[in-house]
Amino acid sequence: MLKHRLFPSLALIFVLLPLLANAAPRIGEPAPAFSGTDTTGKIWTLEGLRGKPVVLEWTNHDCPYVRKHYGAGNMQALQREAAAAGYIWLSVISSAPGKQGHVGPAEADALTRTRNAVPTAVLLDPDGAIGRAYGARTTPHMFIVDEQGTLVYMGGIDDRPTSDPADIDGAINYVRAALADRAAGKPVAQPVSRPYGCSVKY
């Protein structure tokens, strides 16, 4: 009995561990490839964006931590700054159908409109493929990929892991800091930080 249960699970672990190890994105290495459909049906791939820097933002409009940054206009401000600096901003919704934050294209567009948000596109990832490839854990969870497709930042939006909008003022915004470092031609000083928020509802 024991043997029968043990060996398949051990085998599974041995097969899966290397996969998991490969899946984890690393700073300074090529960012995981992806292919995602936006709210207009357009397909975006990382390969197709080569030559342009990209910001990926995992989001779930019902998550208190996402509401903290959208409610205060913090996320929208960051989107505008990134756009001005030539970044492609992709908001990714990885909530599975039936789970919190799952939306269709129309609803996603409505959210963008009502929140006055300006992402380049909103990718709908209901099967979680992009989320899993990037190891996205929380909403928000932020990634920055440079022109060569190299991952240069992953982690939280700032250093105050709370849902209280009052904590936005005075927080160190890691994404803004990374954009500034790159604009100054410097490597990103803090390339990894703790992502915080709600879990991605895979």
Binding site: L2, L10, Y196, C198, V200, Y202
Partner: protein
């Protein structure tokens, strides 16, 4: 009116008062939100100046909802508290109960379900004026999640009476007492365990000295103290080896040379948590000497000696002696052969035994490497193996009794034909291997310790011990074969041999009968039915083959078809016993004091209740277990002694594989039964010998209860 006033005063004293900030209902004692109830409690309603006492912030969570540990894992947020305190009063940092792993899809959180009680130490200054109430206010924020997450907050106010008489400051409601006892029980215990962590091949290897960990260990999980150190969701394969627990961790996004966290271990149904601090420096041995399983303390040389002794004793076991007897018979036949020929036979027999033991050792090591916990009585725990062995002994018995001449061919394999010159060497070799095979389940007194030792050693030591065991088993025969003086004293061959041969059939048939009974315990009457039908089919097939030798042609064709059919049917029936539901099997009925079935939980509960316990680990196929039960455990005197000391008698049945029992045995450095453990009211468990006498049991029972007075702890109503 009077009662109402009293009630109101009680609320003020022992319960928090809800402030305006939190969502609340009419009950001022709690902050109640949609999915949880939060309370702030004091250990006691009265405190003396200069004293300290514990406060608890307690979350009672709706099913499916959870709050978070200080490192919440992949998402979430730990609760935080801000205190508003009078001058001079201080509150220590939040103490976190051990977290649980909460998996959310591919992610993992560290947090709490059901109830989370966070403790704080409150210090009252010496100069606090007695009689002046002490008021503390806590503003708490927390996140509560199921699928969705809700940030919540609440204000808690607590008022304590301060007395100048420390003696008057004690006593509180039993429910509050219990809550604090449980809360402290869930805190990581003691000083941090210093551990070693190494990053190699993209894995983090955490090595924790196991001295303070409970035994037997059935589960282990490291909760990293902050984000980025490890992948929170990754599996954590662990193994215990040489008193070191090794966990294989997956590094997180921000790995560090140092790893801090809490190790939660399981032992049976009990969980405990220990703070861990690990760095890349070699592990320093913990100064405190804590006794480990005694078998592990055996030096290699004495372990080898014990193994040889154990092997020697195996020769006398009922399940190996018949085979040895057959071999001795063959040797007697050979008395005329030269010393060289006898030496060769002796060595070949030894080689047969050693080959078997090497094979088993290899298998044991392979299974151990795979993490499987197996014990020595392993073979006899498989009904198919038991059925096939019963067939074998039946056929050998019939052959010896003269019922089957075809037996001489089978016995050539089984060893009885070892004397024949043509396939004598093969026969001798097979006899050796067979003796070892049937000896294996009979755990002699020395074998348990030696094997327990072998199981936790490196592979070459384990192999050496297994081979020493085999050597011990082969030794009497080897001596008999090598020393001419001894061989000469063996009786000369003669007519007595055929009588002896027939006589030896009975131990073999008795063994077959015993195996049938073992099978009946394992599989019930259905298995016995299958075995008997199979035996009938087998004997019929062999008889057909026997007839066909000297028979006419037509008859011969018939038997050539029918005999294989009946033999295959016999095999099929034996294999079929393996499919019978063994889960429904009950403990073999034995006399003696009334026993409860053993479980780790029952044992822990009895220990907690302050009852002395006698544990008996037994199996239907274990002869010495049955002898002990008959000789030492079932007398009136023992029953009376047990009743007198209110000893809980727990009996574990290892007839079929039971991993919980295997782990329990391993906790004492054993890998086989019988095993007897006594647990005194206070103090460490003690092993009894594997061969018991009534006096040993009575002596052991008399030490369990501290002399004088009732040992039973008073139970709260």
């Amino acid at each position: 009116m009077h009662v109402l006033l009293l009630l109101a005063m009680t609320w003020v004293l022992v319960s928090p008062v809800v402030g305006a900030a939190g969502p609340s209902d009419h009950d001022p004692a709690r902050v109640r939100t949609e999915h949880l109830t939060a309370r702030l409690l004091a250990e006691r309603p009265v405190v003396a100046a200069g004293e300290s006492l514990d406060l608890a912030l307690v979350f009672e969570l709706e099913t499916g909802w959870h709050t978070y540990w200080r490192n919440p894992g992949d998402s979430g947020e730990p609760p935080r508290v801000q205190w508003a305190l009078p001058d001079g009063v201080s509150v220590g940092a939040m103490r976190w109960p051990r977290p649980s792993l909460i998996r959310v899809g591919p992610l993992a959180n560290y947090g709490y379900s059901g109830r989370a009680a966070h403790l704080f130490r409150l210090h009252v200054p010496v100069d606090w004026r007695a009689g002046e109430p002490l008021r503390v206010v806590a503003d708490a924020r927390w996140l509560v999640c199921k699928e969705a997450c809700i940030p919540e907050q609440g204000r808690f106010e607590l008022q304590l009476d301060v007395t100048d008489d420390p003696a008057a400051s004690h006593g509180s409601a039993p429910a509050v007492d219990r809550l604090f006892i449980e809360a402290r029980d869930r805190l990581p215990a003691g000083e941090p365990i210093r551990a070693h962590v190494e990053n190699s091949d993209g894995r983090l290897w955490l090595q924790v000295p196991a001295r303070r960990l409970p035994s037997p260990l059935t589960g282990a999980w490291l909760f990293a103290g902050r984000w980025g150190l490890i992948d929170h969701a990754a599996e954590q394969p662990w193994r215990l080896h040489d008193d070191v627990l090794t966990l294989e961790l997956t590094p997180g996004e921000a790995p560090d040379d140092r790893l801090e966290g809490v190790l939660v271990v399981e032992s049976g149904s009990a969980s405990r948590a220990f703070p861990i601090e690990a760095d890349a420096n070699p592990t320093q041995s913990t100064p405190e000497p804590v006794p480990t399983a005694q078998a592990s303390d055996l030096a290699l040389s004495s372990a080898l000696l014990f193994a040889i002794l154990g092997g020697l004793i195996l020769n006398l076991m009922p399940c190996v002696f018949p085979v040895l007897a057959i071999k001795a018979l063959a040797l007697a036949r050979q008395a005329g052969a030269g010393p060289a020929a006898r030496l060769v036979h002796g060595l070949i027999y030894t080689a047969g035994v050693l080959t078997f033991f090497a094979l088993v050792a290899g298998l044991l090591l392979a299974l151990r490497a795979a993490g499987a916990a197996i014990g020595w009585g392993f073979q006899l725990q498989s009904p198919v193996f038991v059925a096939l062995m019963a067939y074998l002994f039946l056929v050998m018995g019939l052959a010896l009794a003269g019922g089957l001449t075809i037996g001489s061919r089978l016995m050539g394999l089984a060893g009885a034909a070892g004397a024949k010159a043509d396939h004598g060497h093969l026969g001798t070799f097979v006899t050796g291997a067979l003796a070892a095979l049937v000896a294996a389940p009979c755990t002699a007194p020395f074998m348990g310790a030696a094997l327990g030792y072998a199981l936790v050693q490196s592979w070459y030591i384990a192999l050496a011990i297994m081979l020493a065991l085999g050597f011990g088993l082969a030794l009497p025969f080897l001596v008999l074969a090598v020393v001419p003086g001894l061989a000469a004293r063996l009786p000369r061959p003669g007519a007595w041999m055929s009588v002896l041969e027939q006589l030896l059939a009975f131990p073999l048939l008795a063994t077959a009968a015993w195996l049938t009974w073992v099978l009946s315990v394992q599989t019930g009457s259905a298995g016995v039915g299958a075995l008997l039908a199979g035996a009938l089919s087998l004997v019929f097939g062999l008889w057909l083959l026997e007839r066909s030798r000297n028979a006419r042609r037509g008859w011969r064709w018939l038997t050539l078809v029918l005999a294989p059919v009946s033999l295959i049917a016999a095999l099929g029936l034996a294999v079929g016993t393996g499919r019978l539901d063994v889960a429904t099997v009950r403990t073999a009925a034995t006399d003696g004091p009334r026993a409860e079935p053993w479980s780790a939980g029952r044992l822990a509960q009895a220990r907690a209740d302050g009852r002395p316990v006698l544990v008996n680990m037994s199996a239907a196929w274990c002869i010495s277990c049955l002898v002990n039960e008959r000789v030492a455990l079932s007398s009136d005197a023992v029953a009376k002694a047990m009743a007198g000391a209110d000893v809980l008698y727990l009996k574990g049945d290892w007839t079929n594989r039971d991993p919980a029992i295997t782990d329990y045995l391993a906790g004492f450095g054993r890998s086989g039964v019988p095993m007897y453990v006594v647990y005194p009211v206070n103090g460490k468990p003690r092993l009894l010998p594997q061969l018991l006498t009534e006096q040993i049991v009575l002596d052991a029972l008399s030490t369990l209860v501290p002399s004088g007075g009732d040992h039973r702890r008073e139970l709260r109503p």
